[in-house]
Symmetry: C2
Subunit: 203 residues, 2 copies
C-alpha cells in the first residue's frame, strides 16, 4: 500500500521530469530531482521504491523512463473525462483553463441550474441544465466531477452525483461533504489555506 502522501509527490515528480525533458535533460540524480520537487533525496528514493527500482547506481535516473513509470503507476497514461458543476465566477475560470489537457484531464461538459445565461462566454465546452446531468454521466461513463456551486446546495448536488456513479469529487464549496466511503472527495478551501498561512507566518 503506497502512502497517500507519496502519491501526491509522484505527481510533483512527474511535472519536474516533464520540465527536464523539455530542456533535453536525459538523466537526473535523486538529489537534483528532489531539489526541483522541494523534498529530500531519501524521500524521493523511498517514494519510488514503493513500486519499483528504476535508477542506475552511480548515474541516476533516465528521465524518459522514470516519467513513463510514474505515469503508469498513477494511471495518467489515458485522458480522463471530467465534468464541472456550477458555472459561476470560479467555474468559468476553470472551464477556460487550457492547462488540464496536457496533464491528462479534459473537462468535457459543464452543468448549471441556469445554463442559458452562461452560454455566451468564450468557452469551448457545452453547458447543460442540471436535468441532463444524470443521463450524461451514465452515457459517457464519467467518474470525476469538479464542484463549484454555492455551499448551500453543494450537498444536494453531491447526492445526485454519487447516485449517478461519480466516484471522485474535487470540491470548492467550503463545507464538509457527506459521501459513501467508496467515493473520494478532495477539498480545495482557499479560506483555510489563507488562514493556515496566516498562522504560520505569525507564530
Amino acid at each position: 500500500m503506497i502512502p497517500r502522501k507519496t502519491i501526491y509527490r509522484l505527481s510533483i515528480y512527474l511535472r519536474c521530469l516533464a520540465r527536464l525533458r523539455e530542456n533535453s535533460i536525459g538523466t537526473v540524480s535523486s538529489e537534483a530531482l528532489a531539489k526541483a520537487a522541494g523534498v529530500k533525496p531519501t524521500q524521493l528514493r523511498k517514494d519510488l521504491a514503493y513500486f519499483g527500482t528504476f535508477g542506475t547506481r552511480g548515474l541516476g535516473y533516465d528521465v524518459n523512463e522514470l516519467l513513463q513509470k510514474i505515469s503508469e503507476e498513477l494511471g495518467t497514461s489515458s485522458l480522463q473525462p471530467v465534468i464541472l458543476v456550477g458555472v459561476g465566477n470560479l467555474g468559468l475560470a476553470l472551464l477556460s483553463y487550457r492547462g488540464f489537457e496536457k496533464e491528462g484531464f479534459e473537462i468535457i461538459a459543464a452543468f448549471d441550474t441556469d445554463p442559458d445565461r452562461k452560454r455566451d462566454k468564450k468557452i469551448s465546452q457545452p453547458i447543460f441544465g442540471m436535468h441532463d446531468m444524470p443521463k450524461f454521466i451514465r452515457e459517457k461513463n464519467v467518474k470525476m466531477a469538479i464542484l463549484s456551486v454555492p455551499p448551500a446546495v453543494a450537498q444536494n448536488v453531491v447526492n445526485t452525483l454519487v447516485d449517478t456513479g461519480i466516484a471522485g469529487i474535487l470540491n470548492f464549496a467550503p463545507i464538509v461533504l457527506a459521501v459513501p466511503e467508496d467515493v473520494m472527495v478532495n477539498n480545495v478551501n482557499l479560506a483555510i489555506e489563507l488562514e493556515n498561512l496566516s498562522y504560520f507566518i505569525q507564530g
Copy 2:
C-alpha cells in the same frame, strides 16, 4: 508545538462551529462536532488539548466559547490584508469572490503587468501595475499574497514579493517555488488534485 495538520483541522472546526451558531445551537459534544468535521472524536479532543481545555465533562463544548478560543489560537480575530498578483481568468474569479471577508481576509488590491485592460470589470479592488507593488506592500505592511500568474513568470514575481517583505504565498501556478525558509508557500495545484482523485478511484 501544535502539529501542522491540527492547525488545518482547527480551521475546519471553526467553520462547523460557525454553522452551529447560525443554527442557534449552544453546546456540542466532541462526537457531534467531529462528525460534522469529518474526523474522529478522539482526534478532535486531542487537537483541542494542544492549546487548552474548554469542555465540560458530561455536557460538551460551548459553541461560542470554543469558536472564540480557536479563533484566538489561529489569530483570525483580526482582518488580514492580502494582495493578489496576476489578474487573469482565475485572478478575476478570486477578486470577485465575496467569501473571504467573513473568514477574516480581505484582498485589498491586485497587481498585473497589464492593469488597464482589466480595469473595466465589476470588481471593487483597485488594480495596479507591477511597478507600484513594492511600495504598496511596504506602505500597507502586507504580509500575504495570492499568486495567479502564468508559471513561466511565477518565480520571478515571487522573488520580488519576498524581497518586499511578503511572508506567506498562496500559489496557483503549477511549479515548485524556491523561497527562503522563513517564507511559507501553500500550493494549490488543481491538476495534481485531479490526478490524485483519479488514482484512488481506480486503485
